[in-house]
Each structure stands twice: as structure tokens, then as C-alpha cells.
């Protein structure tokens, strides 16, 4: 019951922030130069025709009215139509969201798979060669530009070794094996930076936790090193790691925008970039909105994860 109340209160707190974010996105698009009727009707249309379209689209209304209508339509699932493809933006999102979602989830999983064990080992073998290598990799990983990483991977695994296809996307439901082969390099591309941060954070948190009294007590009572590390230390050390993963989701999505372009993945990032090039605003607006809502949702899940990981947190 307390958990439900906690979730409800966090959701309520999101409402004003969402209102502000939607207002910012709407305002941003209002600043666009040019008349949208030119984009729809072309240069040849007359003034009367343009006025009629403006009235039909509601562009002759005051801005607050236009904003309220945009929010209402968005809530009803009507996000407009792409000027370029004439496809409803809602339909575009339905095909694009799963691609970006799969990429980010796989990247987070990879970063945890690499970062947590490496961080633990580095903390347990402090000041050893392993620790030095982990520190070096984490510093390098943070400075690595996403797109260069992607290019190096294509050079190695596609051109040199010939193991993986360079780009494209197949839904997992159609061909899971091919989907995995196509998603490995994009996942490594954006997962590396996050893995570096997770590695660094896990090492620091483990060092702090391992020096605490309750760990000494567990060892004194004869608990095995594996039990001490995995059961007693890791659980508390994971809390700051969860924070890093939560805070870095935005950066991960930024990485996905570039990575989708390199690997020709038809995700939200590519939709955003293509929309900008084509001055096709409805998809740009929708992609930004969905990404921001996604990041806010991850922040909410991060807060929930604290509660589940740390029993000391009272709801």
C-alpha cells in the first residue's frame, strides 16, 4: 500500500514537469521560421486557400489555445502527420519506439554485465594490475566518442573479420538470430561509455562498503568471501550504481541518436534527425516528447529501485 502511495505521489510530481516540458517543446516549434501552409500547399496556392488551411489547422487561434489543442490531441494519440511521408506520426512511433527501446535496454544490460563484475574485481584487488587496467578502461571509455566507436567496430567485425552485417534492422519476431547480429555492434557502441561509468562507480562504492563495520563483522562470523561480497557488500554498493544508470539514460538516448544513424537503425533518433533535415516538424516534436517522457519514466523507476535495493529507505 505504501509503495502504491509512493508511486502515486511520484507520478503526481511528474505532472507539472510534463506540463513544462510539453510547453517548452510546443514553444520551440512555434519559433520555427516560415509559414507551414507553404510546406503543405506549395508556393502556388493563393492567399484565400492559405487562410482556409490556417483556419482548418487552427493556426489562426491564439497560442495558448493552440497549445491546449496540441496537448489534448497528443493525449488522444493524435500526434499529427508527417509532411514528408504523409504517414500518421503515431504509426511512425509504433514502429520506431521498439527499435530504440531494444537498443537502450541491451546497452544498459551490457554495461551492467561488464561494469559491475569489473568494478568488483578492481575493488577487491585494489592497486593491482587488474585495478590499473579497469581504471584505464573506465577513463578511456568515458572519453570515447560514440560514433568513432561504431566506426571502429564496423571496421573490425564487418570489414576485417567479416563476422557481422554492417547495418540494417530486422525485428526480433521476424528473425531473432539476425536481429541479434545486427544489434551487437550498436549495443557495444553505446554500452561502452555506460560500462565505463558503471565500472568506476562500482569500484568506488565497493571500496567504501568493504571498509564498513558490518562487513568486518560478517567476516569475523566466518562468512565466506563470496557471500560477503555478493550478499552483504554488493547490495549496498549497487545503490549508487543504480543512480549512475538512471542519470545516464539521457546520455544513452543521445548516443542512440547517433548510433542509429551509423547503423541505419529505424529508431526514434533517426526519425528525429531525418525530421530536422526535412523540416518535418510533427515527427521531430513527437520524437522529442517520447524521448523526454521515457527519460522521466526511467528516473521514476530509479527511485523505485532505491526502495527495493535499500531496505533502510522508509516510504
Amino acid at each position: 500500500m505504501r509503495l502504491v502511495r509512493f508511486i502515486a505521489s511520484r507520478l503526481l510530481q511528474l505532472v507539472p514537469l510534463l506540463a513544462l516540458v510539453t510547453f517548452l517543446i510546443f514553444s520551440m516549434m512555434q519559433l520555427l521560421p516560415g509559414d507551414p501552409t507553404f510546406a503543405i500547399l506549395g508556393e502556388q496556392a493563393g492567399a484565400a486557400e492559405r487562410a482556409a488551411l490556417r483556419e482548418k489547422l487552427g493556426l489562426d487561434q491564439p497560442l495558448p489555445v493552440q497549445y491546449a489543442r496540441w496537448v489534448t490531441n497528443t493525449l488522444a494519440g493524435d500526434l499529427g502527420t508527417s509532411l514528408r511521408t504523409h504517414e500518421p506520426v503515431g504509426d511512425m512511433l509504433r514502429t520506431r519506439i521498439p527499435v530504440t527501446l531494444q537498443l537502450t535496454v541491451m546497452a544498459i544490460a551490457l554495461s551492467l554485465l561488464i561494469g559491475v563484475p569489473a568494478g568488483i574485481v578492481a575493488a577487491l584487488k585494489r592497486n593491482s594490475m587488474v585495478d590499473l587496467v579497469v581504471s584505464f578502461l573506465s577513463m578511456g571509455g568515458v572519453a570515447m566518442p560514440f560514433f568513432w566507436m561504431g566506426m571502429l567496430l564496423i571496421g573490425l567485425f564487418t570489414l576485417h573479420l567479416g563476422w557481422l552485417p554492417p547495418s540494417g534492422y530486422v525485428p526480433p519476431g521476424t528473425d531473432l538470430w539476425l536481429n541479434m547480429k545486427l544489434m551487437i555492434m550498436p549495443t557495444i557502441t553505446i554500452g561502452t561509455t555506460m560500462a565505463a561509468l558503471v565500472m568506476r562507480q562500482t569500484r568506488t562504492a565497493m571500496l567504501q562498503v568493504l571498509s564498513q563495520d558490518y562487513i568486518r563483522t560478517a567476516r569475523a562470523k566466518g562468512a565466506g568471501e563470496g557471500r560477503v561480497v555478493l550478499r552483504h557488500a554488493l547490495r549496498n554498493a549497487l545503490i549508487p550504481v543504480v543512480t549512475v544508470v538512471g542519470l545516464q539514460t539521457g546520455a544513452l538516448v543521445s548516443g542512440a541518436v547517433v548510433t542509429e544513424t551509423i547503423f541505419s537503425l529505424p529508431g526514434l533518433g533517426r526519425m528525429l534527425v531525418e525530421g530536422i533535415f526535412e523540416r518535418d516538424i510533427a515527427p521531430v516534436q513527437a520524437a522529442i516528447l517520447v524521448i523526454v517522457i521515457g527519460v522521466l519514466a526511467v528516473n521514476l523507476f530509479t527511485d523505485l529501485a532505491y526502495v527495493l535495493l535499500d531496505r533502510r529507505i522508509k516510504l
Binding site: L24, M29, P33, A143, W148, S254, V257, I291
Partner: protein, 296 residues
């Protein structure tokens, strides 16, 4: 010297450091191994970019149709690109663009964000509430996504890329400065200045600002690395410098079309990587130096 701890992660230095202290701090930075490496690498890159017209063996747009996609050799140390331009020369000139955008963007974000944070933290109340809610709204956007949104509005070119990178960094600076000001404004020397009738701008700029500027410089150096990656990402996507103007990210974008010419991707990528690493090292070094000063 008076010092205070802020609610944020960085400590607050409460007074402007005298010249001798600056020299002491610089000496400490030079003794900090990684900080010193970062400083030397970055200073070298900046000097190479500034003196590119004197150092570069060729012009950035000088085309040699007899030397298209030539691998590194004695004549072209880092090879040539798809239209026969020298990669080394373009890297040197590209440094002016990439580092120039980062300096301009972070410099603008530093000034504007600090001014916003200073006003917000100093006055508090509804001014603070309104400003910080807007900053929260902007912070909800992933940085590159917000930059793309701004470029969608302004149009893709070099100046707009710089504006976009500046805008996305303003909330971070504003939040940091505001947090620090909240602590510093309570200190005795600020209260003393107020009691002798000093005006608000004088207190803010003459007494509060010197107490927070050190941390803002550290933050700026750490943000510069991220700004460089954002600039390169925008250029890579074709939303930054327009050809033939060279920039590191745009050079990598060209390399995507010529996979066999490994030098086209290796050297610009390595340059961005080294610059980011140097900025991170320098930021870490500055932070440690500041901590060491406080522990005196």
C-alpha cells in the same frame, strides 16, 4: 580564509584567491600527474589550432586531384581525403572550428548560466522558483536531443550548433552556481557587506561571485569534454560545420563513405578521443587542486 560546504558535490571557496595562491594552485596542478598531462595535451592542441596557418603543410581546402585517398606517406603524413586534401592540415584547421565552438559554447554557458544562478540564488523567492522550474524543464531533455530540437528551430550551421551547445549547458551552470550562492550568501563577510550598505550587484559580483567561481571553472572544464563530443556528434550528423569548413566530427562523417581508407577515421577519431581525455584529466586535476587548497 573563509570556506563553506555547499549542498552540491563541489566545495565552496569563499574568497578571491590572491595572485600568490593562484601560482601555488598552478604549481599543484602541474604536480598532479593526470591534471598536468591534460593541461599539456590541451595546451598543445590549442596552440596547434591557433598557429595552424603557420604549421599546416597545406591549406585546409587545398585540393590535389593526383593525390586522392593517398595513405599516410612522407608527403602527406596522415594521408589525403576523397578530394585530395591533406588530412593533417584539415585536422589542424579543424581544431580551430571544433575547439572554437567548444570554447564559445562553454564560455557563453558559463557567463549566462552563472548570471542566472547568481540572480536566482541571491534573490531566492519567486524569482528562484520560476527560474529553477524552467531549468528543471530543460534538464529533463537529453542534451543531444535538446541540441537537435534547437537546431531544428534555428537551422543547421556552425553558429547555431554553438548556440545549441551553449543553451543545453546553461541549466547545469545555473544549478551549480545557484546551489553555491545559497551557501555563500549566508556567510559573515557577505552579511557584513550588506550591513555597510553595499548594493546588490556589488555584493553579487564583488563578494559572492569570487567565492563560487573556482568551482564553476572546474565544472566548465569537465563540461567541455561533453561539449566536444556533442559538437562532434552534431558535425558527424551533418548539423554542424558545413563543407568545406573542416571540423573533427565532420571529417569522421566523410570517412563513413570510404571504409578502406582507414586513416580518414583513425586520426580524427583519435584526436577527439585525446582532446576529451585531456579535458577530463584537467577537470579531475583542477578538482583535486581545489580540494587540496581547502584541506590546507
Amino acid at each position: 580564509m573563509q570556506t563553506a560546504r555547499s549542498a552540491g558535490t563541489l566545495p565552496v571557496a569563499a574568497a578571491a584567491p590572491p595572485a600568490s595562491l593562484l601560482a601555488k594552485r598552478l604549481r599543484r596542478l602541474l604536480r598532479h600527474r593526470l591534471g598536468c598531462i591534460g593541461l599539456v595535451v590541451l595546451a598543445s592542441m590549442v596552440l596547434l589550432a591557433v598557429f595552424a596557418p603557420l604549421i599546416a603543410p597545406y591549406g585546409p581546402d587545398e585540393v590535389d586531384f593526383d593525390a586522392i585517398l593517398v595513405p599516410p606517406d612522407a608527403r602527406f603524413w596522415l594521408g589525403t581525403d576523397d578530394v585530395g586534401r591533406d588530412v593533417l592540415s584539415r585536422l589542424l584547421f579543424g581544431g580551430r572550428v571544433s575547439l572554437g565552438i567548444v570554447c564559445g559554447a562553454i564560455g557563453s554557458a558559463f557567463l549566462i548560466g552563472s548570471a542566472i544562478g547568481l540572480v536566482s540564488g541571491f534573490y531566492g523567492g519567486w524569482v528562484d522558483a520560476v527560474i529553477m522550474r524552467i531549468m528543471d524543464g530543460l534538464l529533463a531533455f537529453p542534451l543531444l536531443v535538446l541540441a537537435l530540437g534547437i537546431i531544428a528551430v534555428l537551422g543547421p550551421n556552425l553558429v547555431n550548433a554553438m548556440i545549441a551547445i551553449a543553451v543545453i549547458n546553461i541549466p547545469g551552470f545555473a544549478r551549480l552556481v545557484r546551489g553555491q550562492v545559497l551557501s555563500v550568501r549566508q556567510l559573515d563577510y557577505v552579511q557584513a557587506a550588506r550591513s555597510i550598505g553595499a548594493s546588490d550587484p556589488r555584493i553579487m559580483l564583488g563578494h559572492v561571485w569570487p567565492g563560487v567561481v573556482g568551482n564553476v571553472i572546474v565544472y566548465a572544464s569537465l563540461r567541455s569534454s561533453s561539449a566536444l563530443i556533442t559538437e562532434s556528434s552534431l558535425a558527424f550528423l551533418g548539423l554542424g560545420a558545413e563543407p568545406p569548413t573542416p571540423s573533427w566530427g565532420q571529417m569522421l562523417s566523410t570517412a563513413m563513405q570510404y571504409w578502406d581508407a582507414w586513416w580518414l577515421s583513425l586520426f580524427p577519431g583519435l584526436t577527439i578521443f585525446c582532446a576529451c581525455l585531456a579535458l577530463n584529466f584537467l577537470g579531475d586535476g583542477l578538482r583535486d587542486v581545489l580540494d587540496a587548497r581547502l584541506s590546507d
